[in-house]
């Protein structure tokens, strides 16, 4: 397969300032909580304060008596008007009531709700509801849970197994009909060096700065439901709300207005969205619910939380022969939309950037009495990267090899692409060694080593880390996504020559209004200002899937480009008729449409547009108007990659780690807007560094989230980071015409292992081989003082 770079016209590839910004910097963006509808009431939820128990009694009498309270619903009331919530994966799943009907399974699960005149009264009334529980044993440790200890959370799921031991890799038939361990066993039998390590990729709280919010408005006269939600995918929301309300899709309009960040946690269709819709329909009034932050900590899905038992086998020269990964995912109390699928991506990407002859992974997903997990920036891939990269780093240390050279030795080579992995992926394109070399040079790797060694001689604890990643992005073929993997675009040339385009991607910070306008401006050779991108409203955007999995540019961008090509062809036909030329000779240039070799004949773009709407005479065989749409489903995902290098210093007295340097070299293929791409990478780095260094969701034995607010869950601040140093390489993908791979999640992949490896390096004088994230100062201090080694 060839991977020649598509030609890049003028705006594509430029650092164009975002057109979203003038409204946002003036505070004129409209987020869900900024909306008011006449007659609107406010919803507040009463949530379980215990992690596991049966509901003996709910006393709503005091709440009902309060001034301004419109209605109170318990779980039993809601169960009459709302079926258990569906999930988006094919795995078996226990019933999940939007409001717990008889049993609560995590602290924070809704048990009742209040509809009231304003949010103050709603909160007072929710607080006045008294719930009595009969406590059940609380399941917190996933590895004990797998043995049914200390109890079972869902009756039809013995030993709390949501997904029981799925194998994958070398010798495993795609339908699991055959599992042959010969190759894996042989690799480990023949290996000269073996490393075994249990690693934890711990639980995180996504914490988009805008908490979730819903405004549901059932109009009894029109029999239509409009639902505004802080969501990443309004079209999926529309489909689900219609289904759960017994409505046709034509009766529901879902709108994602300005959305204040998502990071995967706003993919899921939540209990509060369903509940607001059925309550609005039941009462015949618009209702709004806005999540408090402390509520968000328990009510919005968490991320990660996968234990990996990782074994790697190699020859003394560094050639890796085999890899084993036994994965245990703690998914919390329920399956949500994509919960069960996320850890399967860890399996899919287990071999990272390496050509490993024999691999065996197994995956078990376990219920515990915690907030459910689902996608969080990277969703399964950072976990894979972390496990394989930490294992590679441990191997390098064991072999006393430079970590860069160990990786170089095992990389999949450029001539092996497209590369069918043993995990089932087909990597589209890659040149890992080139990126490694750029990173080593950008970081001055040798210089850093000298700097570290000098610091070490001075008694300072300085360490270096290097990690490589490959990510699966641009999702994807519909065979791998239950919603469908396509995206939709529509391009309309207005009568005045302005271009209005709609996209099914629903951005929440990604800047699609800018990047997609860059693309279309180039495609039609019109000014950037003449292109408008609409999104996020199913009443305007006919079809779509949504924004996740770093897919906007690769999939939605391509759909728009294809729609644009259709319209452009028709416009060329109109131009040919008007200019009395052959369609093949029509050229779009600098805001005009003309004839090749006859510049004097050129007409303004707007003139041809106007003609297309009043074509007198109508060219034979043509319909008036210029609007067309396209669905694009990629034949494959994309596989961007990169190399991150860090330098970390640890305070010998306190164990406090400081990130001194971080160098990120990313290859996302061709870039539409490098300014926006940098922003995406920075943001991903911050979340990866946050995970490695300060963020951690901690539960106690009673299933209470101990880090339930920003007082205890450390959100990265500006003061937590050095200035990131960036470089890039460009290896286009053949999967789409732009050669763009996707970059939204990349930063979270390389950063975590590279920082942990730097910490291990810094503390290597104390004999430590692995440290679990996050790098809590006390943990590091213990290692320095002779304890806590692993």
């Amino acid at each position: 397969m060839t991977t020649s770079a598509p030609v890049l016209p003028k705006l594509i590839g430029e650092r164009v300032k975002r057109r979203e910004d003038p409204r946002l910097v003036r505070g004129l963006g409209t987020y869900v909580d900024d909306l008011k509808v006449t007659g609107m009431r406010h919803v507040a939820f009463k949530r379980s304060d215990i992690a596991h128990g049966t509901i003996r009694k709910i006393d709503t009498s005091a709440a009902e008596k309060m001034d301004g309270v419109e209605a109170v619903f318990t779980g039993a009331d809601i169960a009459k008007i709302l079926a258990p919530m569906p999930i988006g994966t094919p795995f078996p799943s226990p019933p999940h009531y939007a409001v717990a009907a008889d049993t609560v399974r995590y602290a924070g699960e809704p048990v009742a709700l209040v509809v009231a005149a304003d949010r103050y009264v709603a909160k007072d009334a929710a607080d006045a509801i008294v719930v009595t529980y009969d406590p059940l044993p609380v399941v917190v440790d996933p590895e004990a849970a797998m043995e049914g200890k200390p109890g079972v959370i869902h009756k039809d799921f013995p030993n709390n197994l949501a997904v029981a031991l799925v194998p994958s890799g070398t010798g495993v038939a795609p339908d699991f009909s055959k599992i042959d361990n010969t190759a894996v066993d042989k690799a480990f039998a023949e290996a000269e060096v073996k490393i075994s390590q249990r690693m934890v990729n711990h639980r995180l709280v996504p914490n988009a700065m805008e908490p979730r919010g819903v405004l549901a408005h059932w109009e009894p006269g029109k029999e239509t439901m409009t639902i505004w939600s802080s969501t990443q995918n309004p079209h999926i929301l529309k489909t689900m709300i219609a289904a759960m309300n017994g409505l046709g899709q034509h009766q529901v309009r879902a709108i994602a207005p300005e959305v204040g960040g998502g990071f995967g946690a706003k993919i899921n269709i939540y209990a509060e969205e369903y509940v607001c819709s059925v309550v609005s329909k039941k009462l015949g009034i618009p209702v709004k619910w806005i999540e408090d932050r402390t509520e968000a900590f328990v009510a919005t899905t968490h991320g990660r939380d996968i234990i990996g038992y990782v074994d790697i086998a190699a020859r003394k020269d560094g050639k890796v022969l085999g890899l084993k990964m036994r994965l245990i995912a703690d998914i919390g109390a329920y399956n949500m939309l994509l919960t069960a699928a996320v850890p399967t991506l860890t399996m899919l990407m287990a071999n990272g950037t390496y050509d490993i002859p024999a691999i065996r992974t197994t995956l078990t997903e376990v219920f515990t009495n915690k907030t459910p997990t689902d996608a969080y920036r990277g969703a399964g891939r950072p976990e894979a990267t972390y496990f394989v990269e930490r294992a590679m780093d441990m191997l390098a240390r064991e072999l006393n090899m430079d970590p860069a050279e160990l990786r170089r030795k095992n990389f999949i080579k450029p001539n092996q692409f497209p590369y069918q992995t043993q995990m089932g992926a087909v990597y589209d394109s890659g040149d890992y060694e080139k990126t490694l070399d750029v990173a080593l040079k950008a970081a001055n790797w040798k210089g850093l080593i000298a700097e570290r060694d000098k610091a070490r001689k001075e008694g300072r604890l300085v360490g270096l880390g290097l990690a490589f990643y490959v990510e699966v992005c641009g999702l994807g073929p519909s065979s791998s996504l239950p919603t469908g993997g396509w995206e939709h675009g529509q391009v309309t040339i207005e009568r005045d020559g302005r271009i209005t385009a709609t996209t099914g991607a629903s951005p929440h910070g990604q800047g699609n209004e800018t990047t997609f306008a860059q693309m279309l401006a180039d495609q039609f050779s019109v000014p950037f200002e003449h292109v408008t991108i609409l999104h996020g409203d199913t009443g305007i955007v006919k079809q779509g899937i949504g924004t996740f999995g770093s897919r906007s540019q690769a999939v939605a961008g391509t759909a728009l480009h294809l729609a644009g090509a259709k319209v452009k062809k028709k416009m060329a036909q109109f131009a040919a008729a008007m200019l009395e030329a052959s369609e093949d000779d029509i050229v779009f240039e600098n805001g005009t449409i003309g004839v090749k070799g006859a510049p004097a004949k050129a007409k303004p773009f707007a003139a041809i547009a106007g003609y297309a709407y009043v074509p007198v005479p109508l060219p034979q065989g043509m319909e008036p108007g210029l609007s067309d749409e396209a669905f694009f489903e990629p034949a494959n995902n994309t596989y961007p990659f990169g190399c991150h290098i860090s330098m970390l210093e640890i305070d010998r007295e306190t164990g406090e780690p400081t990130l001194v340097k971080l160098i990120a070299v990313d290859d996302a293929g061709n870039l539409i807007n490098p300014l926006i791409v940098e922003g995406q990478i920075h943001g991903g780095l911050a979340q990866g560094i946050g995970q490695a260094m300060i963020e951690e969701a901690v539960y106690n034995d009673e299933g209470q989230l101990m880090t339930g607010s920003f007082m205890d869950y450390a959100m990265p601040r500006a003061t937590d980071f050095p200035r990131f140093e960036m470089a890039s390489t460009v290896t286009p993908t053949p999967v789409n015409p732009f050669g763009a791979k996707g970059v939204g999640e990349a930063g979270t992949l390389g950063s975590t292992p590279c920082i942990v490896s730097a910490a291990v390096d810094a503390l290597s004088p104390f004999g430590v081989k692995h440290i679990d994230m996050m790098l809590r100062p006390e943990k590091l201090w213990k290692i320095i003082n002779g304890g806590g080694r692993s």
Binding site: K123, R293, I694, D712
Partner: protein
């Protein structure tokens, strides 16, 4: 996010505030940056708030008779930015600059911080190290309490119902410093050590040491003070070694075990002493 309903009264003078607090049994509010966060989580539900923030003369830093007086409603930002304090008593400016974040410092006040006495807040340790006089007014008149006696227990201070902190008086010390191990989410102190020294020719004549974050309330470490007396820079490490033992029962939480705090106390006392010595 939504506090429980309460009555609100604005005081026009200290006496008015005392009268209103006495009559209502309510709580005083100035910057509100200790109280309002708790009220929003409904962890604090006062029936009445008496706003003392606009009382004339209750705010400001001034020097009189060799002492510095800091009004109760002086904000952390005003303390951090005070030229007088930075010149003559830099520990106060330095500690105030480490509280919370810029917006919190713009509203939070010294009186509020001391009266609230969060076990991990910074200023109580500094007040102890400076041997501050906390000036209190109530129905029965004015009284002054030494900082070390003011902090009595977990969120417990020597302040009766209807009483109000009106000012903090300190004798300025240049050779004083505050060193803190940050809790990485809240940036409160896991361990915070404040040290004020009397130094002559590089020799510590006397020392006063306050500790916060480690125990139920800010405390004075008199044993360490004794051990530091007569020491030069090279003797500091040994002198502070006993600090943790003297602190008694140590806090343990999600962010730091008691063992870790135990180890960190001497580290941060030492750092504060070294920084104070460097100030000459």
């Amino acid at each position: 996010m939504i506090p429980v309903a309460f009555d609100y009264q604005r005081a026009t003078s200290v006496d008015d505030a005392i009268a209103k607090l006495t009559a209502s049994g309510g709580k005083a509010i100035a910057g509100g940056h200790s109280l309002v966060p708790l009220m929003k989580l409904r962890l604090s539900e006062p029936g009445t708030l008496v706003d003392i923030s606009k009382i004339p003369g209750l705010s400001g830093v001034k020097e009189a008779g060799g002492k510095i007086e800091i009004g109760a409603t002086t904000t952390h930002a005003e303390i951090a930015g005070s030229k007088l304090l930075r010149d003559k008593c830099p520990i106060l400016a330095e500690a105030a600059a480490e509280i919370g974040d810029p917006q919190v410092r713009n509203r939070g006040t010294i009186g509020g911080s001391l009266a609230h006495a969060d076990p991990a807040s910074d200023l109580p340790a500094v007040a102890i190290a400076l041997d501050a006089d906390i000036q209190i007014k109530g129905r029965s008149g004015a009284r002054t309490v030494k900082a070390a006696a003011f902090f009595r227990g977990f969120y417990d201070v020597d302040l009766a119902a209807g009483e109000l902190i009106v000012a903090v008086h300190v004798t300025p010390v240049r050779s004083a410093a505050y060193a803190k191990l940050h809790q990485r989410a809240s940036h409160y102190a896991i361990v915070g050590a404040a040290v004020a020294l009397d130094v002559k020719g590089g020799v510590i004549q006397s020392a006063r040491v306050g500790l916060t974050g480690a125990t139920t309330h800010a405390i004075r470490l008199a044993g360490v003070e004794k051990a530091l007396a007569g020491k030069k820079a090279d003797g500091v490490a040994a002198a502070v070694a006993s600090a943790a033992g003297e602190a008694g029962d140590l806090n343990a939480d999600l962010h730091a075990s008691a063992d870790y705090r135990k180890a960190m106390i001497p580290v941060f006392v030492k750092r504060a002493v070294e920084r104070a010595l460097a100030r000459g």
